[in-house]
Subunit: 228 residues, 2 copies
């Protein structure tokens, strides 16, 4: 009988306490795992430590799934034999702006049942907090790094309907904001959501015209960008 | 001092127990509310009943925000005076495929702090469970009802990059699936996620070629559709 793949939520910052952000069903699911697939062994262990004892952890094998993983077929074998494995990414929800989708697709082809659990997604929290359209929206991952390509992409997104959402490496957050204020039209709505779920969380959502009169110190912090 | 707007998660089905789907921070937030904004008074009361006593409920005023609400300025007044109000939609996350975004945008303009809480989103759960791309995706609300317009829209979405997600009124779910199987290319990936978080949940994710050999009885059930 085929096993199960549990897509488990992680926190948006590993220092956080899970209780305000994860429902108790996650604890029960982690306690049932025969193994865990994570972006790295270190992050996998840190995750398990939040839910189970050191002894239980020693019995829970870890496998790695990240951009260097060449063969996901091997990861699915224990589930084909009836085991129940978990899948997490380093932060937030696996398969959403993070690895995991290929493994889930393979699980469907192998008739392995896939379940997911409620947890924090920085994209979705940012969209809710932005006041931009949740009736029509699109997520674009990372935008191009080359300055000319980036400017072109920002203008292209600005013309599309609905809310457009993307992320950036924390050390480039300030540069992205500068570029947006230079490129966007004054009437375009711009939201920047920084350090979501952390004590330092801040969200500003204004037209570009209003943004220009505003000081918004932005360090090397994880940010979600939204325009409409 | 301006008050607060809490965007609170609802369940995907009102019969469910909140514990497996909502973190305990939601209980604490509901207990602090000075009032609740919901799509209808009835649904607002049913929500409060899950978290607070009858006596506490009697002290918590309810206001309605739905497609018939003409003046959202009035809804924000108590928060301008320092009160803390909650916002929910009938199911899942307010502001995501549901009303609320305009109120959040207004709150930003009035310097009212907005917070959100982790909860279930059928779109995001469906995307995770689909195995389609969570690196690039778009949500399109409801597609056109007219048969010719719908066919055109499906073909247009099929050509766009990434995962495309939409919803349909439950009584039209089976019709939508029929139309998809008629219109899409055999190699296109199609996922249908039905009754998410309920005991009757089922998710099938296959290429259209594989779907065609499959029987998938679909009643008047809430479904999320995804293609890539």
């Amino acid at each position: 009988m085929p096993g199960k793949l549990y897509i488990l939520p992680n926190l948006l910052d590993e220092e956080l306490d899970p209780a305000p952000f994860l429902p108790i069903s996650v604890n029960a699911a982690v306690a049932k795992l025969d193994g865990l697939i994570a972006e790295s062994e270190k992050m996998g262990r840190r995750y398990l430590r939040k839910f189970i004892s050191h002894d239980e952890m020693a019995k829970c094998p870890l496998r790695v799934l990240n951009e260097h993983t060449s063969d996901i077929n091997e990861l699915i074998i224990p589930m084909e034999k009836g085991e129940c494995w978990g899948l997490i990414s380093d932060a937030g929800l696996a398969c959403i702006a993070d690895p995991g989708a290929d493994l889930v697709w393979l699980a469907h082809q192998k008739k392995i049942s896939v379940e997911t659990f409620v947890g924090p997604s920085s994209l979705i929290m940012a969209l809710q907090l932005s006041g931009l359209s949740g009736q029509q929206f699109s997520f674009h991952g990372y935008l191009p790094r080359d300055a000319a390509d980036l400017e072109k992409k920002i203008k292209e997104l600005e013309r599309q309907p609905g809310a457009k959402i993307w992320i950036e490496a924390p050390y480039r957050s300030a540069k992205m904001l500068d570029q947006l204020l230079k490129t966007l039209q004054p009437s375009t709505k711009l939201c920047v959501a920084v350090n979501l779920t952390m004590a330092t969380q801040r969200v500003v959502s204004q037209t570009v015209a209003h943004w220009k009169g505003k000081s918004f110190p932005l360090g090397k912090e994880p940010a979600v960008f939204l325009i409409q």
